[in-house]
């Protein structure tokens, strides 16, 4: 404010500083310089222990805040789920029907009509695992991108750690995926696979994949709020990712077509890794791109990098989300 006043008085070559200036001040009665105290507003605030509105909390502090809001995150996720299905007659039944229809479409096209990959045993189960696991990440990316932009009203009105929003969006998808997994297990059993101890591997896999997805969702939430155009590109990016993740055809096709660094890039694809691991857990004899031990290490690294990286990236933008 002081600067703006001096600039108004530019003609006044020798602008007096300090207390005397209040006499020259052209502003109304409020315009009194911090006379005797000489205290700047910043210092005044600091002395009285005021903190800057919109100050970024430290990462541990932020994590603690987020943890304290876990009930809100859960309630928000449930609320979103019931409000999304609230207009339908069947309501929550759709949570089960959606994955069944999803699998049904692929079964009719690839299993009955095209009868592709007859050489592979149980291609239908192979396909469905890929579709379901991929769908999990796809929906997190989609809802994560909208997590900030579609809740601006709430962000501008209430105070809560903003990461609650992409987290609750991811939580909705994790719940959906759990239901889908039950459907998937049914499909796998119906197609003649035995129940084995290996099925238990689905639990750590779900954990890693969820962690990966939460990070990715947070990344997309901040990125989507900054660059709105990205929403238009996501369908294409996701389709590209779908074809690169060996969902609709056997993973061995990559090996016959690519080699060297190209193959390495394709096989480092995190979704390919998660899908491969799910297949190796559920199917009896399945051809994998890499041995399971390597896949597990890759999956863990991806989850940690994307999970933590996405969270840190989102936290850095915490105070800017209200701007829109």
């Amino acid at each position: 404010m002081l600067n703006s006043v001096t600039s108004h008085q530019a003609s006044d070559s020798a602008v007096p500083s300090g207390p005397t200036r209040s006499e020259h001040d052209p502003m109304p009665e409020t315009a009194v310089a911090p006379a005797d105290s000489g205290l700047s507003l910043k210092e005044l605030a600091r002395r009285n222990g005021l903190s800057a509105s919109g100050r970024l909390p430290s990462l541990p502090e932020y994590t603690r805040q987020l943890l304290a809001y876990r009930h809100f995150i859960q309630a928000h996720a449930s609320a979103k789920m019931s409000s999304a299905l609230g207009n339908t007659k069947l309501g929550a039944v759709w949570q089960v029907l959606t994955p069944i229809f999803n699998a049904g479409v692929y079964y009719v096209i690839f299993g009955l009509v095209l009868q592709t990959h007859k050489s592979m045993d149980n291609f239908v189960a192979y396909l469905c695992i890929g579709v379901f696991v991929f769908q999990f990440t796809q929906s997190v990316v989609q809802s994560g991108t909208n997590a900030i932009t579609s809740n601006l009203g709430m962000i501008r009105a209430l105070h809560f750690p903003r990461a609650s929003l992409p987290l609750s969006a991811a939580l909705v998808e994790i719940r959906n995926f759990l239901v889908a997994t039950v459907v998937l297990l049914g499909i796998v059993l119906l197609t003649g696979e035995p129940i084995t101890v290996k099925w238990l591997l689905l639990l750590p896999l779900l954990l890693l994949h969820s962690f990966f997805n939460v990070g990715l969702g947070m990344f997309m939430a901040r990125y989507g709020s900054k660059v709105r155009d990205v929403k238009q590109l996501i369908p294409f990016i996701m389709r590209f990712w779908l074809y690169g993740s060996a969902v609709l055809y056997p993973v061995t096709q990559f090996e016959s077509l690519l080699s060297g660094w190209q193959l390495q890039i394709v096989e480092a694809n995190p979704l390919l890794i998660f899908i491969e691991l799910a297949r190796s857990a559920l199917l009896d004899n399945v051809v994998l791109a890499n041995p399971p031990a390597v896949l597990w290490i890759q999956a863990t690294v991806w989850s940690l990098v994307v999970g933590i990286g996405g969270f840190v990236y989102f936290w850095r933008g915490e105070k800017g989300y209200g701007r829109g």
Binding site: L39, S53, G54, S82, A84, M154
Partner: protein
């Protein structure tokens, strides 16, 4: 520029605060693909994204126990300033300091329209940081206060079926259920019918008793005169006057009559 009273405890300090927010608008004046492409190539901002410089260098100090009215014509940046004090909108230049976490009590807190009123009460309370036990204890009180159940069981109906007055009343009741250090009230007193207005003014007085400092944005001169001892007059994003309510109101009235 700002007088500092060393005897009183400041609760909110605004130091040369500028607030700029971006507005995304569909179907602007020049939204043809060619124009958009030109903008992208030349790197000019224009088009869909417009920046609104809503608050331009505002400085003030608010003290404990004060009730400050923010006045100004429509679009002068009052609500934007409140949101920045609450930390909901980032300050682009300068700074705003506050004691504790200021809470904004507004009528347009977005809730989920598909959900029934009582679930919205739970969600809103959780979003304000209450524990589930507190929410369970306060839920009925909030619904009773809002009076939405006066004409039948509306709290179990989706909020989209509510009249705008009922929705506003419920939102106000949720926000007013919590006690605050620095309380920011945005036109909340103007919601609902006369009966509810009386009840909400009473509630605001109670909250003022508990809160350190109250800011009130309102177009109702009466409620500003009734509740505020100090007034800040914002016009086009800058402070035109800051002082005792009676003085500032007189100036403001002279200005608006012109």
């Amino acid at each position: 520029m700002v007088e500092i009273d060393n005897d009183r405890t400041p609760t909110v300090v605004a130091d040369e605060a500028h607030i700029i927010y971006r507005v995304q608008q569909g179907g602007g004046t020049n939204s043809s693909p060619l124009a958009s492409f030109k903008r992208m190539v030349t790197g000019s901002k224009g088009g869909n994204i417009r920046e609104v410089h809503a608050v331009k260098g505002v400085s003030f100090v608010a003290y404990k126990g004060e009730a400050i009215g923010l006045i100004g014509t429509n679009g002068s940046g009052k609500s934007t300033l409140l949101r920045a004090v609450a930390g909901l909108l980032p300050v682009s230049k300068g700074a705003i300091y506050a004691a504790g976490q200021p809470s904004l009590l507004g009528v347009n807190a977005a809730l989920m329209n598909e959900l029934p009123g009582d679930r919205n009460v739970e969600l809103g309370c959780l979003a304000m940081g209450m524990s589930p036990a507190e929410v369970a204890a306060k839920k009925q009180e909030i619904i009773d206060f809002s009076g939405i159940n006066d004409k039948g069981d509306f709290s179990s109906l989706p909020m989209r079926t509510y009249s705008s007055g009922m929705g506003a009343r419920l939102r106000f009741s949720i926000a007013a259920a919590k006690e605050h250090d620095v309380l920011l009230i945005d036109e909340a007193l103007a919601t609902g019918d006369a009966k509810f207005r009386k009840r909400s003014e009473q509630r605001v007085r109670e909250l003022r008793g508990q809160a350190g400092t109250v800011f009130l944005v309102s177009h109702s001169e009466q409620s500003i005169r009734d509740t505020c001892d100090r007034c800040i007059w914002l016009e086009a994003g800058t402070i035109r006057a800051d002082g005792p309510t009676a003085d500032v109101m007189k100036e403001y009235e002279a200005y608006t009559r012109r």
